[in-house]
Amino acid sequence: MDERVADGRVVTEGRAEAQSRSGAPAGGAVDPGQGIDVALVEEALRGQLDAFNQLVVRHQDHLFALVYRLIPDRDGAADAVQEAFFSAYRNLASFRGGSVRGWLCRIAVNAALDMQRSRRRRPSQPYPEFEDESWQPPAEPKAEPETQALAAERSKALARALDELPFEQRNCIVLFDVEGYDYAEIAGIMHVEVGTVKSRIHRGRLTLRRVLAGDRELFRG
């Protein structure tokens, strides 16, 4: 048990220390394509649209996957990521070095938060894809059929549970668990205190577990 506890801390604190040493900004793991990204940004700054579009191709799937967990439908998530790329193109000159991927992630998260705020007034059907039985989440090519089915069920249950959470808790959990931001980085993105972020994450996790009480076996398998 001690090891698991220690793992939990090492994962969180060790990541932050590694980032501060390497100078890599938010977003967790060190990006291996950083050099290419910086070169593409420099070319884009000289007016090369193709260079910027190469950046888009390199990061659009990652940003879409991130934003999709914050915006509960595909088209809305795609719109938010598109807005993020527009914003990045407009503000290329404001890029101050570091991780291009982290910079794009921050812009995308801000675009997603803007869209969430606008959608609060006009709520829509959350995660319609998971309600559509004809669509199945993509699985690893070599995965067993049973494993694929379990992963699909787990994703559906988790999507429904995430939708039960307040926006603030969901955002913090996604940014922490998926994107790998630490508490301080999330506080900076969300413009709240670090203590607030911690509280949202801890309480959100407890709420998720309560909501998933009926599907607990899916996650213990």
Binding site: M1, D2, R4, V5, G8, R9, V11, T12, E13, L49, F52, N53, V56, V57, Q60, D61, F64, A65, Y68, R69, R74, D75, A78, D79, V81, Q82, F85, F86, Y89, R90, E129, W135, P137, P138, A139, A151, A152, R154, S155, L158, A159, L162, I173, V174, D177, V178, Y183, K198, I201, H202, R203, R205, L206, L208, R209, L212, R216, F219, R220
Partner: protein, 271 residues
Amino acid sequence: MDRTAPAAHSRHDELLIARLYGGDVSQRERARAQDQLADCEECAALFADLGAIAQATAAMSVPPRPRDLRLSREDAARLSRKRRVWPAISGAGLRRSFGGSLAALGLVGVVLTGTLSLIGGGSAASGALTTQDRAAANEAGVGYAASLAAPMAASSAAASAAPVASANGSMAAGATVGSSDVAKSSAPASGSSPPSGSSPPEFGAATAAPAGINAENGGGQSKGVPAPQASQGGIDARLAWLIGFGALFVIGLVLVLVPRRFRRRGRGSRT
């Protein structure tokens, strides 16, 4: 290891376990949480579930991206253009803010102008009544002021007072003050102290009005002629301000309520 019964778990702090999982505990809290985990099956299960849910969240499958998000040449050209004032205002948030501000300014202006008109009108009316009352008193027997006022009436100051008052009444506030000053200025004329016969008429309504009032006292002209003319100019000015503020209010409302006209063109190349 003996563990406590599930019933005892209700007394345990689940948030502490969640904080332990998130690495957000002090040394003392860590020790207490680890005791809980060691002693309580439910707490241990909670800790394990939190880990499983976090892993599942990170591994949650995502449906395919609905379209390619690369920028088209048109997008790039549009984004490179310098932003002009109107498109910035026509953005939903800015447009609403700007419209709301305009509407609020217009509404405040309409209310203030209306209120000032009412107050100013009331003062002018009460001033006229006071003047008439005093004139009646003068006719009844205060001969000193009337005898002094009579030569002034002969100088036809009343006839010249109205245009001057109108000319100087171009601002609503000025006209209002001028109207109320009529009553104030008329007081010395009908009081015990003699008025200054050399009051220059070019000082405007405040100066000209007493002359007119004195004229009516002594010369027998129709009562209250200058005051209505002065307030007529004031009413015109107030009306102009009212219309201006009303227009601001309407424009603001239109900006807030009318659906957005300038939508972004294109969403990049779609596949």
